[in-house]
């Protein structure tokens, strides 16, 4: 997959970039490489600085400090209209006085191309985005999904080095959004253009992106593939932001293979140096429920089922432990009998199921 083949030099290098608005930092000393031909996601809660970072790439905001390099050259002197990047705006920002064709051709008309070449490239792009026959319409005669595709066509027709997508699917309904996510991935593979998407939706980032940068309060929490971020989060914050997580606090035992918790010693892997505080992060689907204490090998903690939620494909089970903490367990609905509320159960998982977090 193109997703992992980035041994080459970075297309974009963000070096220690900071930006604050009215003394409040939006992006704080952030460094990041974006490789050629990758689908990169900037993911984080609202206000984490991801949009500010995107707008600095586009040139609409100027970093207070730090540099942004394209192919090793600082792009600070380039105003937005001279950058070989194009952006798809969250509001789409389609020109209401121009037709679909006029919107898509707008950027090409600034490039001194022949009339025939512009017409050809516009037609090609409209076909690629399934907008044939819509060329003469005005934006307000289109559906939301069509407008979204026109905005995409308008940005892609200039063949940018970098396509910036600012919450591109936020205005679509759930079903259309899911379809469009896969279409975006297919489009990126086909055009081999570098895509950078800004989103607050973890599912969206996981589906479309080859690499994700998780941002919080203007800083990078973690950069990695979707699986890396989900399976091996670096911090409790990332673990909690991406999906659901159970945390067990304890002191690392000798050899770094156990964690001493209020529930007893729990076998783990790679817990680090003995005596430090650490947290075992366990995804709900990595825990099994047992009616009897298993004989050996795996970790087992007793608890009482407090709630069961049926979600169709899975059931979510909440189990209260002896110290009052509540753990979430998810079980596939494959016909096995579910415990009822009030049942005494054992939570069971192997030593390799979780990740030990230091922060």
């Amino acid at each position: 997959m193109a997703k992992t083949g980035h041994a080459a030099a970075a297309l974009i290098r963000i070096e220690a970039v900071s930006k604050s608005f009215g003394g409040i930092p939006a992006v704080d000393d952030l460094s990041l490489d974006i490789m050629d031909d990758e689908f990169f996601a900037l993911l984080g809660p609202s206000g984490c600085g991801k949009t500010t970072l995107l707008r600095m790439l586009a040139g609409f905001e100027v970093p207070d400090s730090g540099r942004i390099l394209l192919d090793g050259t600082d792009i600070a002197p380039l105003p937005p209209h001279r950058r070989p990047f194009n952006m798809m705006f969250q509001s789409y920002a389609l020109f209401p006085h121009l037709t679909v064709e006029g919107n898509v051709a707008f950027g090409l008309k600034q490039e001194n191309l022949s009339r025939d070449e512009i017409a050809g490239r516009v037609a090609e792009m409209l076909a690629l985005l399934r907008l044939q026959g819509m060329g003469a319409r005005k934006p307000d005669q289109l559906s939301g999904g069509q407008r979204q595709r026109v905005a995409l066509a308008r940005a892609l027709v200039k063949r940018p080095r970098l396509l910036l997508l600012d919450e591109p699917l936020a205005a679509l309904d759930k079903k259309l959004r899911a379809e469009t996510q896969f279409e975006l991935v297919a489009l990126q593979r086909k055009l081999r253009t570098t895509f950078v998407i800004v989103t607050h939706d973890q599912d969206e980032a996981m589906i479309v992106a080859g690499r994700i940068a998780v941002m919080n309060r203007g800083r990078l929490e973690q950069v990695g593939s979707p699986a890396e971020i989900y399976e091996r989060p670096k911090s409790r914050w990332v673990a909690g932001f991406i999906g659901d997580i159970n945390l067990l606090e304890g002191k690392v035992g000798k050899g770094g293979t156990t964690l001493d918790t209020v529930h007893g010693a729990i076998r783990v892997t790679n817990a680090g140096s003995a005596g430090t505080t650490a947290w075992l992060a366990l995804r709900p689907e990595k825990i099994a429920l047992a009616m009897k204490k298993p004989r050996s090998g795996r970790n087992a903690v007793p608890g009482v089922v407090t709630e069961i939620g049926y979600l169709g494909d899975i059931s979510l089970c909440k189990v209260r432990l002896a110290n009052g903490a509540v753990m979430q367990v998810s079980m596939p609905n494959s016909g096995a009998e579910l415990p009822s509320a009030g049942a005494k159960v054992w939570l069971v998982w192997p030593a390799t199921a979780g990740v030990v977090l230091k922060q």
Binding site: A58, H81, F85, M87, S91, A93, P96, F106, R154, K158
Partner: protein
């Protein structure tokens, strides 16, 4: 059923209201003026014939209709005085509207781009002159433009001129007065339009490779056009019929149509000719309104 009937009745009343307004305040007065324009002057009270004598019944109505004629219109188009006045009015309105657009657009643009918290203040400043009587403000211009007025003394002080310029009683004075008086009518609709302009459209244009000056012509101006049309109509139409400004600031060598109308009505007591002038003026002004109306309908249909 009854409540639904009542509702549709009240709905109809609401729909009828603007038509009623139009009939009572436009159509009926216009019909009276038009009838007057077909009459002849007479030394009488009122100063025209024929008069409709309802007491005479049908014969009275026939007599009345026999008495009407188009002599006034023949006079309007045969005496160059009237044609000149119409022509001058149109030229003054056209030129001043162009100047208003040239001054008003940058003003409105600046207001719309000003910091948001400053904008109400700027709008207030544009509207503020309305708080003083229009007549007083035009009189003030007499004071400014007269031979030893403010403008001449300022220009003399600055050594831009050596001898005082006769500003007053000239077409220049008319243009100054008209542009000054009608500027808010140009600025406000333009500002209302430009203020709504989505900034992300300007960013999108920049993102697509358009330098700022070109974005202005390709995005800002086309999107401001409805505001331009509104401002132009709000200025052009009343300027054509303007009476006070040319009468107080203009010269006596040539008159605008509003002045001619006033003279016919009050000085010459020729009500039929005054009414005919008004009728033709209306016909001239209805043309741009209809054009605007058609352009708007076409814009709506395109949606």
């Amino acid at each position: 059923m009854s409540s639904r009937g009542a509702q549709s009745w009240s709905q109809r009343a609401v729909l009828a209201a603007p038509y009623l307004w139009l009939v009572v305040f436009f159509l009926v007065p216009f019909a009276i003026v038009f009838k007057l324009s077909l009459s002849q002057t007479a030394v009488a009270q009122p100063p025209y014939v024929p008069l409709l004598d309802l007491g005479a019944g049908f014969a009275g109505l026939v007599d009345f209709l026999r008495g009407l004629g188009v002599e006034t219109y023949v006079l309007l188009f045969s005496d160059t005085l009237y044609l000149h006045a119409y022509f001058k009015s149109l030229i003054v309105a056209l030129v001043s509207t162009a100047i208003l657009l040239l001054i008003g657009f940058p003003m409105a643009y600046g207001m719309a781009r000003a910091p948001r918290r400053l904008q109400p203040l700027l709008v207030m400043l544009v509207v503020l002159p309305f708080w003083t009587s229009f007549l007083i403000r035009v009189y003030a211009w007499i004071n400014i433009l007269q031979r030893d007025g403010l403008l001449n003394s300022a220009l003399l002080q600055l050594r831009i001129i050596d001898t005082p310029v006769a500003w007053l009683a000239s077409d220049t004075a008319i243009f100054i007065g008209v542009v000054y008086s009608y500027l808010p009518f140009m600025v406000l609709p333009l500002y209302a339009r430009l203020e709504q302009l989505d900034r992300s459209l300007l960013e999108a244009a920049a993102d697509l490779g358009t330098p700022p000056w070109k974005t202005f012509w390709l995005v800002t101006v086309p999107l401001a056009l409805p505001g331009v049309a509104a401002g132009v109509l709000l200025s052009f139409i009343p300027i054509v019929g303007e009476f006070v400004i040319p009468d107080l600031l203009g010269g006596s060598d040539s008159q605008m149509i509003g002045q001619v109308l006033w003279v016919e009505f009050f000085a010459n007591k020729d009500w039929p000719v005054a009414a005919a002038i008004a009728t033709v003026l209306l016909a001239v002004l209805v043309i741009p309104i209809l054009l605007y109306e058609r352009a708007q309908r076409r814009a709506l249909e395109q949606r």
